[in-house]
Symmetry: none
Subunit: 252 residues, 2 copies
């Protein structure tokens, strides 16, 4: 039994079951554990497998990546943005919060406030803030989006239109350099527009990954916002737009 042949068989075994122990391989090939270790280390060096204590397995490209990592994507930046944003919201204020992971982090940051009145179309936000006794939380009705627990649709924007609040906190999927605000879902855009219409002040929260990113549906322009919270300096064109429309920029 040659080394290369053994390597091939080891790889095959790992592909089959996702994992092999050293004992198993010792039994199969009738060689010493040390030999197997050398084999595994070599294969690991070539990035073919993932070495572990007691054996080896496939590279950990399992399921947990998509949702989990998306949630922590730019987590630090988002937390800083959230911390800055909640500072300008006084206790007792009324506010809209819409969809987006950034908004969920903002919701968490708001837990230290007192007596807020919140209208949201974000299931997670409703759940986070609804747990706090002294908050009044209203969820907008409508269809629940599978991907992120957002509530969307015409009924939802109608519902939003019943309210007029101090602040509207908007998460955004993309900002073009001409100042266009973009989102992927037309039904969500309806809701965001309703929020903008019914808010005395519009707060836009966005991390650097959103600048220049394209999306399908135009939501409005950056001039409709009163404050923009971000973690890196926006491109020049957007800076100019901010200036023109007197949008206050908060950089963290």
């Amino acid at each position: 039994m040659s080394q290369s042949h053994r390597h091939a068989l080891i790889l095959e075994k790992i592909q089959a079951s996702g994992f092999v122990s050293i004992d198993e391989l010792v039994e199969s090939f009738q060689v010493t554990p040390q030999t197997i270790r050398r084999d595994l280390n070599q294969l690991a060096m070539e990035q073919k497998i993932c070495r572990h204590h007691g054996g080896a397995g496939l590279e950990s490209s399992t399921v947990n990546t998509s949702y989990q990592t998306r949630k922590v994507l730019n987590l630090e930046a988002k937390e800083k943005i959230a911390a800055a944003l909640v500072k300008i919201i006084p206790d007792g204020a009324s506010l809209f919060i819409n969809i987006g992971t950034t908004n969920e982090i903002i919701a968490r940051a708001l837990l230290n406030h007192r007596h807020l009145q919140v209208v949201t179309n974000n299931l997670h936000v409703a759940s986070i803030l609804g747990a706090k006794e002294e908050f009044s939380v209203i969820i907008a009705g409508g269809e629940v989006r599978h991907s992120d627990g957002g509530v969307i649709g015409e009924a939802t924007s109608d519902f939003i239109n019943q309210f007029h609040m101090d602040f509207g906190i908007i998460g955004i999927s993309g900002i073009l350099s001409d100042g266009s605000l973009l989102d992927f879902d037309y039904r969500e855009v309806l809701v965001a527009q309703a929020i903008i219409k019914n808010s005395r002040q519009v707060l836009l929260a966005t991390d650097h990954s959103k600048f220049g990113r394209n999306a399908m549906v135009r939501l409005g322009t950056i001039g409709q916002a009163d404050h923009l919270f971000t973690d890196t300096p926006p491109p020049e064109e957007i800076m100019a737009a901010l200036d023109e429309y007197q949008v206050i920029l908060h950089m963290v």
Copy 2:
């Protein structure tokens, strides 16, 4: 069984159900609780999971409600009730689900169904079922109750009245021996009545602790239900009422 392999399986379990208890994992892997604790702490350190007293769950705010459902009173009975109830619901059905921990467990049990259309005023149910691609989930709008994530109020029952569904799944706070259905919150009663009115069949789920328990607001009578699911034989008077109104009793 190596540590890393165990870690991967633990993550898988948590992704599947939102929460795992230490006992569960001890049973699965045949190791001591201390080992599981070390595993969970390590995974928590890597931000993969969210550690709780007695187990661990996803970090997502809404899904961790499944953590709370683990502490539910009479959990085992409720799980059996849920299993029996979902059996009479066919794939593709449309249904209302209202407030209550039993209903949350029922929602979980429904995850194996296909193509359901659900209208609910329960944030947790919306979150549980909304995650499944092929379900259409609609949440009723209104004020969020702090204690349990229920959405209640006049706007909510108005919203419910827009729909007419095959089934109405109702959780109940108390049943008097004369067959009165009771709840603690007037605003929730409005919603429940709207659901009963707009359902072709009304399914009542209740464990033994509810029989004879008093509550403030009268919701209706047991005669309005078509099926009653419970874990122990009801008192005689209620049995008589079930008979009179031809309510089908399912005992698990």
